[in-house]
């Protein structure tokens, strides 16, 4: 993962719970890095360790942490770091989601050390669509759900997010149905 992800976790914990809690999370995780550089790749394990430690220190289930982080990623990090580009992704929730696969395909080339997930969109209706999520990483479903919630808030479009299938059920990828 790029440092920007870890940096976002740090910001989220610091903003919501204070810098002392962040120190505790860092200590708990055993990660001994004082400063994450946004565009440097870091080992995925670091991100997992930070999220796991935050769950333990803050006494919040991991999935909730990941969800919160997903929302934060869209509403705070994305807006701050890639504000205009985020907006160019689409002028509505629907348009943004439809552009999501192309968006990730471009990203892959721009950030060569990134292993971005792959998205696919199907069943596009007036007020719903299905988002297919392919990833080599495990256990980030909560994060994806948070991202989708964040997008729903970003476009001020209340949405219902249903997980139709999951790798946990033996399938090869996740399918989310988004109704708005």
């Amino acid at each position: 993962m790029y440092g920007i992800v870890n940096k976002a976790i740090e910001q989220l914990v610091t903003e919501q719970f204070g810098s002392e809690k962040w120190q505790a999370v860092k200590e708990k995780s055993g990660v001994d890095i004082d400063f994450f550089l946004s565009n440097e790749p870091y080992d995925d394990a670091i991100t997992y360790q930070l999220a796991g430690a935050a769950s333990e220190v803050l006494d919040i289930p991991l999935n909730n942490i990941l969800e919160a982080f997903g929302e934060y990623w869209v509403l705070k990090t994305g807006k701050e770091k890639y504000g205009a580009l985020m907006q160019a992704g689409g002028s509505s929730l629907k348009e943004f989601l439809i552009n999501l696969p192309a968006f990730h395909n471009r990203i892959m080339l721009i950030f060569p050390k990134l292993t971005p997930p792959e998205f696919h969109v199907s069943n596009i209706e007036e007020r719903s669509l299905c988002l297919h999520y392919f990833s080599k990483r495990e256990g980030l479903q909560g994060f994806v759900r948070g991202l989708l919630q964040g997008l729903s808030k970003l476009f001020d479009t209340p949405a219902e997010i249903l997980l139709l299938q999951s790798r946990a059920d033996g399938k090869d990828h996740e399918i989310y149905q988004i109704n708005w």
Binding site: G3, N39, K81, G83, A84, L85
Partner: protein, 1200 residues
């Protein structure tokens, strides 16, 4: 597009997808086509030529023309919009065949913000266009730069902090020394070098401990330091050390190891403070203290010292010795001292300590007791002074001495005690001790006068010595004589009593009594004695004499009969009053026994009635019947007492009063009272009977009148019937008034407690007066000042009765103008507020003389009023009683000729139930109900007839029984739904019959609902009916409404058809033909001519339809005057056609629109009138065989 041999065709869609920013120009440089995205950011691009919209930045072209551009096919083009806000990069393709130029451009963006400025999204760029990706790279670089800036900032901040800390360490005035993990010195600051004289070079590679080796350096402290350091613990100590040059100095060392994250030692760190001056000063102070202590000890005083901060104390050997201790058994704890202080004296210690702490004193001097080792207390003189203070000025240390002052204290106490004794003695004797001297040379005077003089006599000593000035002149002579005699005759005793005239006290009697004490060496004779104040004694003596005279006078002149007699009854003395009453002289009475004067009867009872009682109980009272000398019988009320005095035989003193006349009067009064009560009871029985006797035939009169009114009558008959009904109602009203008053007087009145809406209640009551008011041309209105839907709990019927009475009066006494009823809540009590009801009229008013008496019984505003206006004169009295029984008040304000206002105030509970049971049905309307089989038990034929007609009229079937017995028989034989049971019937009354029915075996029969019918209106009787098992009761004469309500309530009847619910337009009168109109009056008028009737009905339908249409419009545009005018016209035709169900509504509509009041409800009123009339039209058209006019029959749109 041609590509070698193959041809590719680009349609617009494909071109737009691949080059959304393309431009196609013709040979005139006009833009023929523009890509969708370039169109999006430059919307006006369709019009004009290329040069109107763009300029070419690169490559350089001398003349901007078609052929010049076409020639530059292989160049990179940079094109700008005219306003220079947008730049494009791309190339140009020249179509020679078509003579066209195709610019294949891409938007050039410097920053991501430009995306937003142009409202562009990902979809506006070709998939192959890397512009967006380039922006990502750009943004990522920006983010990286931000990261680095932030990192740099952190670094700089930390660097500055470190520099700052280093500066503090090196520049502080305390020495700082840092050693590596092996304890070797690696850094010292400037101050360390200054204090110790050693430089860093001297110390490098050496341990700091190597410096601590001077000749007087405390080895124990050095050991402590070594141990703490080797255990990795922080350390602090004071130690004597030596500079490089060998000069000793005191230093305070504090330090600690510095550990890394893994708790490994990185460094040792210590701060050294030079405390030489402080230590030397302390040593000097200690020496001075020791010297001072030595000096004090030499004087035999115990020395102590106390530290306020540490609570430490010091006691010298001499100190301990004073208390019987030595150094071994008396420690230096402050408790050794404080625990030995006498508990009563502890407060002295505490007070002094407080003062020291507050800074009020700098030294002390106090005396108190301390417990000696042997257990007794010794007195200590404790002196002390502050010897040192803390930096902020508080007391730190005091030092002082203790001296044993026990002997001195004991002496002082003994002296004080003897003084106290003497003072107490002379203050407590009830006189003035004195010594008087008769000198040999003839002079004389007081040697001594005790201080109690002023208290006892009221004169200061100096004035008293000059006593003759205050002596009463008569007594001064006596005194002078007594003194002269005592002196001349060498008497050994002197006694004198006389008066002093003391300012402020008046006459003071005093007695001086003394005896010879001794003779002095000079031969002067000294008398010692005492002067006492005898004023009180003298006053009592005088009072006693006066009292004796008074008693004598009382005895002789009293009107009371006073005597004394012995325990046998023998008279010892009698006063003149006895003699006068009895006609005897005193000598004819004294010595004889009382018995002899009593009547013969009383004489027999004398002993147990009187003599034994007074002897045993000490007193007796009662009446003696006695005979005077002239043998006249007298009644004497007596109260006698036994007197027992030491030294004399007990006797009886008696006081009597002649009550002969009073006894006679009381007897007469009692007889009169019994007579009155008898008469009053008779009146009540009479009234109850009269109520019954009058109400029974009244039921006949009013009931039959009601039935008669429903038959076909001509106008004159109807008029006569109205008169009968009116007279009947008036008579009933009078009977009810009289019954109310009787109930009130006998305390039998009770009130309902039900929830009701005050405003609704008043509205519906006023409806009844609307006709009368209108007939008299009086405006009757309700000024409702109540807020919201106010539901209260109380008796609505009695409130209605009061207001009806007042309104009826107001209408009666108002010839023109208006009558206004208002209602208002006047107190804000949340539970039971007061409500004020006013009835205001513009009538004849009441004179000032009459206004006070109008609430009395049988009074009106003057007797001529009664003659002119009629009435019993009970109404207001009943109102007043009804209101006051509910805790309210009534008052009247009036001016003769200027109208009257009655003000009623009654408290009502605010009801918790927001909803009302809507059981108040509108008069005259009886919804259709299930048909029932009803037994009427009634002996009076006319009453049978009434009940039967009413019940059958409602569709019920009826069976008659003439007494209780027959009723029981009928019920045994047949099945009934309900029984109307008269109470007073021959052979078997209703109560007995009910009891028998209730005990029947068949449960259906035993539980049959029974309604009592009675002419008695006394509540305790009606309660008996319910107790006897009846379900409800009605009072004769009853109205149809009352009967209907009671049956409905008893049977819990449901209305048969929901749609028949009262809405003002579907009013039906059961027993009639179901028509909403009644043409009796019309037919009479037209002599029942059918042609005439046809014309009338036709005209009515047409005119009325027109009126309804006009009225609808008038209401729509809120033209109230017009509405009122039409309503007036409608009123008379509705009345003529006998459409009774809406006459009231039309009337109300007219009044409301005329007075512009309740305007909100106008559309609803119209709605009702319109609906009813539509139905009337339909009925008339059917009955008179008119074909309905489809256009005209259409309902008028209801105004909402």
């Amino acid at each position: 597009m041609e590509m070698g041999e193959q041809r590719l065709y680009l349609d617009n869609t494909l071109l737009n997808r691949l080059y959304p920013f393309h431009l196609l120009l013709n040979a005139d440089m006009q833009i023929e086509h523009a890509g969708k995205s370039i169109h999006k950011i430059l919307p006006s691009i369709d019009q004009g030529s290329f040069t109107d919209h763009f300029s070419i930045d690169r490559p350089w072209i001398q003349t901007l023309g078609f052929s010049e551009i076409a020639a530059l096919s292989n160049e990179v083009f940079v094109v700008s919009s005219k306003d220079k806000t947008k730049r494009f990069r791309g190339e140009v393709v020249y179509w020679e065949k078509e003579k066209k130029l195709l610019f294949l451009l891409s938007l050039w963006l410097d920053s991501t913000e430009q995306l937003i400025g142009n409202e562009l999204t990902l979809n506006d760029f070709a998939v192959s266009d890397p512009t967006i990706d380039m922006l990502y790279v750009l943004q990522s670089q920006k983010n990286t730069t931000q990261d680095l800036e932030s990192l740099l900032q952190t670094y700089n901040r930390q660097k500055k902090e470190l520099e700052f800390l280093s500066l503090i360490a090196s520049e502080t005035r305390n020495g700082v020394i840092v050693a590596d993990k092996n304890g070797k010195t690696i850094w010292v600051n400037k101050a360390f070098e200054r204090i110790s004289g050693y430089t860093l070079n001297d110390l490098k590679g050496k341990t700091p401990g190597s410096l601590l080796q001077g000749k007087d350096t405390d080895l124990n402290t050095v050991t402590y330091l070594r141990q703490r350091i080797s255990n990795l613990q922080p350390f602090e100590c004071e130690i004597l050390n030596y500079t490089k040059k060998g000069k000793p100095y005191w230093v305070k060392i504090s330090g600690q190891p510095i550990l890394d994250k893994n708790n490994e030692v990185m460094r040792f760190f210590a701060i050294e403070e030079d405390i030489t001056e402080k230590v030397l000063a302390e040593q000097a102070l200690k020496k001075a203290e020791q010297r001072w202590q030595f000096a004090l000890e030499g004087s035999g005083e115990g020395v102590w010292e106390y530290n306020f901060i540490t609570k430490e104390a010091f006691f010298s050997t001499q100190y301990k010795r004073l208390l019987g201790y030595n150094d071994e058994n008396f420690s230096n704890k402050s408790t050794e001292w404080i625990l030995r202080v006498h508990p009563d004296d502890i407060h002295l210690i505490e007070e002094t300590e407080k003062k020291y702490r507050a800074g009020h004193i700098a030294g002390h001097h106090r005396e108190y007791r301390m417990r000696h080792k042997n257990g007794h207390y010794i007195w200590i003189l404790d002196r002390g002074t502050v010897i040192s203070r803390t930096e902020d000025g508080n007391v730190e240390k005091i030092i002082g001495t203790h001296s044993d002052i026990t002997q001195r204290k004991l002496n002082e106490l003994a002296l004080e005690q003897s003084e106290k004794q003497f003072r107490s003695l002379s203050e407590n004797i009830p006189g003035v001790a004195y010594q008087y001297v008769f000198r040999k040379n003839g002079s004389e005077g007081f040697l001594y006068i005790s201080s109690s003089l002023e208290k006892i006599i009221g004169l200061p000593e100096s004035e008293f010595r000059n006593g003759r000035k205050y002596m009463h002149p008569d007594d001064a002579v006596v005194l002078a004589k007594a003194l002269a005699e005592t002196a001349a005759e060498k008497k050994t005793h002197f006694e004198f009593e006389g008066r002093l005239l003391v300012p402020g006290r008046g006459v003071v009697w005093h007695n001086a009594s003394s005896s010879f004490s001794y003779e002095t060496a000079e031969g002067d004779r000294v008398f010692t004695g005492i002067i006492t104040n005898t004023t009180e004694k003298k006053r009592v003596e005088e009072q006693l004499a006066l009292n004796q005279k008074r008693y004598r006078d009382l005895y002789n002149y009293s009107q009371a009969l006073i005597c004394t007699h012995d325990l046998e009854g023998k008279l010892l003395s009698v006063n003149p009053a006895i003699c006068e009453t009895m006609g005897y002289r005193s000598e004819e009475i004294i010595g004889r026994n009382i018995k002899e004067f009593l009547t013969e009867e009383a004489r027999k009872n004398f002993n147990w009635y009187y003599l034994d009682v007074v002897a045993n109980e000490g007193k007796a009272k009662g009446v003696f019947p006695v005979l005077s000398k002239e043998n006249k019988k007298l009644s004497l009320l007596f109260q006698n007492f036994k007197v027992e005095e030491a030294g004399s035989d007990p006797y009886i003193i008696g006081f009597s009063q002649d009550i002969t006349d009073r006894v006679k009067a009381e007897r007469e009064l009692r007889i009169a009272k019994e007579e009155t009560e008898k008469a009053s009871r008779a009146k009540e029985i009479f009234l109850a009977n009269m109520s019954h006797e009058i109400r029974t035939p009244m039921n006949g009169i009013l009931g039959i009148s009601g039935l008669l009114s429903k038959t076909k009558l001509n106008r004159q008959q109807k008029h006569y019937l109205d008169l009968i009904t009116e007279s009947g109602n008036k008579l009933l009203h009078i009977v009810n008034d009289i019954l109310d008053i009787t109930k009130i007087k006998s305390g039998q009145f009770t009130f309902e407690k039900i929830s009701f809406d005050i405003a609704d209640m008043i509205h519906s009551n006023l409806q009844a007066f609307a006709f009368k008011a209108e007939d008299n041309g009086i405006e009757l209105s309700f000024d409702n000042r109540l807020t919201g839907n106010l539901i209260v709990e109380g008796d609505p019927y009695r409130l209605g009765q009061v207001l009806n009475n007042l309104v009826s009066n107001a209408l009666k006494f108002t010839l023109e103008g208006s009558v206004t009823v208002s209602a208002e809540q006047i107190t804000s009590d949340p539970v039971k507020p007061f409500f004020e009801f006013r009835v205001m009229d513009t009538g004849i008013g009441i004179t000032r003389e009459n206004i006070d008496s109008i609430f009395g019984q049988f009074t009106q505003g003057g007797t001529d009023i009664t003659r002119k206006y009629g009435g019993t004169g009970l109404g207001l009295s009943i109102c007043k009683n009804l209101i006051e029984l509910q805790g309210g008040t009534i008052a009247a304000e009036s001016r003769e000729g200027g109208g009257t206002t009655f003000i009623v105030r009654i408290p009502y509970l605010i009801s918790n139930s927001r909803k009302l049971k809507k059981n108040l049905r509108r008069a005259g309307y009886f919804p259709e109900v299930d048909r029932k089989h009803i037994l009427i038990a009634e002996d009076v034929a006319v009453n049978q007839l009434i009940a039967q007609h009413i019940l059958e009229g409602w569709g019920h079937t009826v069976v008659l029984a003439v007494n209780g017995k027959e009723a029981v028989k009928e019920i045994e034989k047949h099945r009934f739904d309900l029984v109307l049971m008269d109470i007073h019937m021959p052979e078997m009354n209703g109560m007995e019959a009910t009891k028998i029915i209730r005990q029947m075996e068949d449960p259906q029969k035993a539980n049959i609902p029974i309604i009592a019918v009675t002419a008695s209106a006394f509540r305790d009787e009606t309660n008996r009916y319910l107790e006897a098992g009846m379900n409800d009761y009605i009072t004769k004469p009853y109205t149809e409404e009352a009967l209907f309500e009671s049956i409905r309530k008893t049977l819990n009847l449901k209305k048969r058809q929901q749609k028949n619910r009262y809405d003002g337009s579907h009013s039906k009168w059961p027993g009639f033909n179901g028509k909403l109109y009644d043409l009796t009056l019309m037919r009479e008028f037209g002599n029942n001519d059918e042609v005439f009737m046809q014309q009338v009905v036709k005209a009515f339908i047409k005119n009325t339809r027109d009126d309804l249409t006009k009225m609808n419009s008038a209401i729509l545009i809120k033209d109230h005057t017009e509405t009122a005018r039409i309503a007036h016209r409608l009123k008379s035709s509705v009345e003529s056609m006998g459409i009774h169900s809406i006459t009231g509504i039309v009337r109300q509509l007219e009044t409301d629109t005329k007075n512009k009041q309740h305007l909100k409800s106008i559309p609803a009123l119209f709605d009702r009138i319109n609906q009813t009339l539509s139905e009337v039209f339909a009925q008339l058209e059917e009955d008179f065989s008119f074909s309905p006019n489809p256009r005209a029959a259409r309902d008028i749109d209801v105004i909402k």
